[in-house]
Symmetry: D3
Subunit: 311 residues, 6 copies
């Protein structure tokens, strides 16, 4: 249980970062924990402890669908094998955990390939914040021999867009960086042909949750009728939204904004939302492991690929 709590702490204090990493480590930690339980305990006790472990990990990030769905997969696989011995359940959990890790990797590869095909020769592609999928997609298109240019926004307050710029320039792509508030200006000035962003979660209404600023990008794209694509795995589907739960927008530490501002007046309220929502009407297509589809399709696609999420 200590090792499990260690992983939980690492997730909370950001030693483990990124939706995919968190999902992998969280799921692995739960599976590993169950391996350490005595195979001689009763199924009931085992299930109880398994549930406790899931709860501990789940609470580290209540709105990280990729991790939530991984934990759901563990439970789902176990529930389909009840009545066998605890040893078998342990084996099943070990396999299930590995399968999920594998899934996260294979879907990523697939999405990059599909997205890269969407980018045409001669295109100027814009992105926002840092999304490993979006960066990799643009880079793959470039490596496929297409003559493309890129624009990246710096993404205050944590400047994840700088990481994007490093990756794109590192790959040899002519890249331009602007401050976030210049996104509309840059889009027009440089005749952007297509926008591609990542996602942190997607709801049953096809609403995408992504880095703060994404809705502004969507508004500007709509104004000039520039296609906006979101790339991300269906494993980021937040199935609770089907039954009325809202995806909570995480508030980050105020210090991220104020740390280099010593004269900040007392009494000033600072809000630092990490994400915002982009409604389906702004999204031309969702690039996922099943292909490219309108975002409103997401629940159907999840149902077909991942019955453990949507039965």
């Amino acid at each position: 249980m200590e090792e499990l709590r260690k992983v939980a702490d690492d997730i909370v204090n950001l030693s483990i970062q990124g939706a995919t990493n968190i999902a992998i480590e969280g799921v692995k930690a739960v599976a590993a924990y169950t391996q350490r339980l005595p195979a001689t305990m009763s199924e009931e006790d085992f299930l109880k402890k398994f549930a406790d472990a899931r709860h501990i990990i789940r609470e580290t990030r209540p709105t990280e669908p990729a991790m939530q769905n991984g934990l759901t997969k563990l439970r789902y696989d176990v529930e389909h094998h009840l009545g066998t011995c605890v040893g078998d359940l342990q084996e099943i959990l070990r396999t299930s955990s590995m399968e999920y890790t594998e899934l996260l990797k294979s879907t990523k590869k697939r999405i990059i390939e599909i997205g890269a095909d969407l980018i045409q020769d001669g295109y100027t592609v814009m992105t926002h914040c840092h999304s490993s999928l979006s960066s990799a997609t643009i880079i793959k298109a470039f490596q496929d021999g297409k003559d493309i240019k890129a624009i990246s926004t710096e993404t205050r307050p944590r400047y994840q867009g700088r990481k994007t710029a490093l990756e794109l320039v590192g790959a040899g792509i002519p890249t331009t960086q602007v401050v976030d508030s210049a996104m509309r200006w840059a889009m027009r000035k440089m005749n952007v042909d297509m926008i591609i962003i990542g996602m942190d979660a997607i709801t049953s209404l096809g609403t995408v949750i992504n880095k703060i600023g994404s809705r502004l990008l969507a508004l500007a794209a709509k104004e000039s009728d520039i296609p906006l694509f979101v790339s991300g795995s269906l494993l980021k589907f937040d199935s609770d939204t089907m039954i009325g739960k809202r995806t909570i927008i995480e508030q980050r530490a105020v210090e991220e904004i104020t740390k280099d501002w010593p004269q900040r007046p007392e009494g000033l309220r600072v809000l630092n939302p990490a994400f915002e929502s982009v409604s389906r009407e702004y999204i031309d297509g969702l690039i996922c492991e099943s292909g490219i589809f309108p975002p409103e399709h997401v629940s159907k696609l999840v149902h077909e690929s991942y019955p453990f999420i949507v039965e």
Copy 2:
């Protein structure tokens, strides 16, 4: 001529800042220069030197209408008194220069009063960047006894929004600050009732030129049908736009963006536009010294108040 050049240099190297200050100092410098010329010189020579002086100041900021229009006023007043002696022209220039300074101040006061009346009790008002007019307007409404709240954006890369926050909090107004990319999120989260921004210039089409990010604010305001007002003096009218000249968007130093980013990759192109345009369809009203009007009216209003700008 040396003193004149000194002022010109101060404007170029930003020792003198702010559209109004630049206008006052530039116009004063030209008038002062002409005072120092011998009253005994010929009118022709005097006019020649007067034109040279205007040219030097004008070139420090080719797209700062308040200054351009001040220089135009000097010329206009002189042209209406040709044929008298040089001493008279000097007197006229001294008066004209003082009048312009006075004009800049009185219009400001008037705009603040009108704008403050627009803000209703109970309102949450949003602004962007720092505009001394917008800040003063919000503060006046608050001092008039209205219970209001304010939102300000930080405005990367130079954080002028922090100055706004200092002023508003200093006046006792409950104020919230967010990063620029959170402007749409904050607008909805806090039920903003009205947006008020300043302007750097306004064209004959009623297009407002203002701090980068203003168009994004306008797009978000339009999406939720929140009224957007622009406050500024008609002296910022860019009359060259009537005859097809475009207002040039100033590019600021790249270092403003990259100075705290040592690992900036070589080869990365960084663009740092200072302003962007907001088309008239996004502007509910222009708050100016003549009152509150649709922005498309601007040339008519200028014509009525300032024949030296639009005859």
Copy 3:
């Protein structure tokens, strides 16, 4: 047959009212009629009489999908058991009828729960006309401890909105009522966070048919980007729309409008449409027994839950 005709008459003359009640009573009447037939008759005769009975009930309300779909379920269940004796078919019809009644009730409960979860603490929720689902949903959210306010429109000419107001005030919810034409004004004045309306039918294009005035509400919601949800059972799916049939908009008696207007001029034409359509582009989400989804999904959801409607 007499009893059947009695029910048919009661539906026609509005003694039986409300889509759900009509569905329950109509389906029960057909099933009851078949129970009274001699078990000794031939299957062919039985089916003939069963069809006649369905026809009689169906014609009372050609566009009440919940009833139509109930009759379809009876037929569907019988058709899957042909070749057994008439007694068995009677038993099947009895069960089928009870199942349908049960279905109508259980879906209602489910929709209320999901919808209530969508309503957040602090929300002001607006509705139109009277929808037992919408009222119950708002009340449930309030009973779950959320601090909410409500707005209801009176809904000329039959003032069903008064029933809504009675229910909401009765439950203790701070409620405001306005005339129908003030719906946009109230929406803005009171900072409505969310709109929830019921539905009478939904087509294969995701178009919702609901009380007259609903499209105006949708237009006003769109103008201010306020989310509009429709709550209703998938049993209201009008499957004929899949093959090009239009949902007919019922015209109600003119007297509803003119009864308190003695000086109504002769020759004046009065139209009294009961319903109007709301296209899918205006609907943020459909709250149904399967969860919350974009309205364009409806045929897929019906297919999954009710193969007797869409195979």
Copy 4:
């Protein structure tokens, strides 16, 4: 003073109704009052009493621009003749008052003629509430020999639309009436070619204040790109809006809504706004005594025709 107060009371208690009537009677009452003052009093005293009288009438309807502007005209005419004897001022006020009455009538006639020309043969024209100008315009077009049809809404809670229907049917025009919430349905069903409504006031931004429901009509017109015209005199210009004052939306008695609803629950809040605003972007043209113009022109037109309102 008593007679003056009598008129003031009649306006307050609605014995005098309609913007034009109120303006005529209010202005006449002030002028008449001044006639009764002794011609021997000092100009200062006379002006004081004149101001008191204006104040009493003004306060009966703080937002009835046609009356406010009439009072302004009296003051304006007097101010341009100061320094003559009180008897002369009395004469001036008598003339000024008559001129204003005449103005109200002649502008009306002119607007009707212009508006009628806009209506084409074969048109179906829609209106809302009762506007004597709109009715007269439609009737004139019909009397000019054009084959037209009309639609009128009943306009809860006071059913002014019934008056419209009476007038139109009385003139022989094929007219259809619907409840307010059916306005969009009727517009589409009957292929409306043009909408014409009256106005209670117009602001310096070209925003029209008209009967509640007008904004809904505007939204529906915009959705189907049906031209919406507003007809009204420039004398309804609310000049205070130029300097930041808002036009106040009058709240009418709640009983208008609840009087035929005995079971109205205690605790229900009922709001009964009389008017709402229609922004300039929804108005194709303003039909006024100067002709047909975009509504944003209004301040220029007022300035040209009525310097006593906008100098």
Copy 5:
């Protein structure tokens, strides 16, 4: 192989025209070719030659989904019977080819029936270019006894709209023809109730590819909120778009445009795109063999009806 190449040539040089004809002839040619192969050859060799034949036909029109999907069906049917003798495979291909021809015909009939039901009595229906489905649908509605009118555009440069006019007038329908650039004018002038166009392909995003000018029609329809329907078989689904491939817009011969223009200046670049895309947001409904659905549903519908296209 010669006969196969003959068909390929006929397709390339337009001796065989029309998406359906091309599909039938191409598929038949491949099937026929395989019938002529010796039944004694090895399965491996047979499959090789079968693949070559498909390749030859496929390349004649890389973006004609109805043909592509027919070839896919042949392959799919063969792949599900591997391991039997070559003679059996030949039989399977013969059957598969006939089935596909049958499918193309039966879907057409079904779509016409559904579409005709959508057209209401009294409607004015507009179409663009020539689509045998759209023409047949309008004619069927007319033959069903509905009183309808039609508008057709001439469709430069090949005037396919004249064929449409001939068919509609031939059927007795009052028909109006205008030049392409008058499509918006005609739509308003004649109060069009509904637009129906065909399609050449549809993508996984629900984007329809149709004759150049279709997007303009869609823009004009949107402006006036006139419903736009696209009728076409799901067999025109371009499944490659699911994985990021773009549908290529065919450029036709420049001579089509310039042949009657002898003075065409040298150096003038002429572009003659045959098609353009209509995004799903402009399409009210897709009329296909499965019924009427939002276009974004297309991949789901294809999956259900044609597993050989989308498994």
Copy 6:
């Protein structure tokens, strides 16, 4: 009178073409006719004959504002000199006629200069039909040394766009031509930066009447937020629209469309509208002799420059 009728006939049968030419010749013909009258006739008779002459010319083109306004100028100038001898009036008419011709030329030159300044280096400019102003403007920008590209549409049925292409290619500008229905496709494909079209008339609402297809161009421009400018002289203001008269859309001969279509079916109705309207909301700016302004300003600009049109 014969010569006058000759000119009238030449205008009717299109021997005299183009709004400017028609205006020049019509005005000259009336003036010339009055020169030939005996100077000894009475003023009354002279005015009568002058009115007859105007009437004859006016009726040749009831909706050609440039000509109408020229005739108005003649009348206006005469009316301001009544009471002198007929010889003087003849002289005045001669001068007035020459002034108008001069005006038409000088405004043209001015508009071209202003418009050319609007076109930036590197721009791709699109136009529609043939407008001598638009062509000259694009050519001037090119001759000013700017690197620009152009797109022209062919403009069925009379192919005036070919004339445009000839002029642009003749001037050395890289030019692309497409059929009218490809205008949206070309706009996107070639990243058009700006659109410039001419105008035949402009109304008091700022609605521009221009060649059929212009509204489609405007819709496509709006969709992608590409600025659309209209260039034309204020002398094309249709002042009758101020008082409710509609600009009549001329219907051209059907043969223009059908002449190369021998199999045209009997009974087919063909409509050939020459123009259509573009509402002010689609027009970014009007380029006229007064400068660049929002189109809604037009009546104010006409009033300032041409009191004989709008007093």
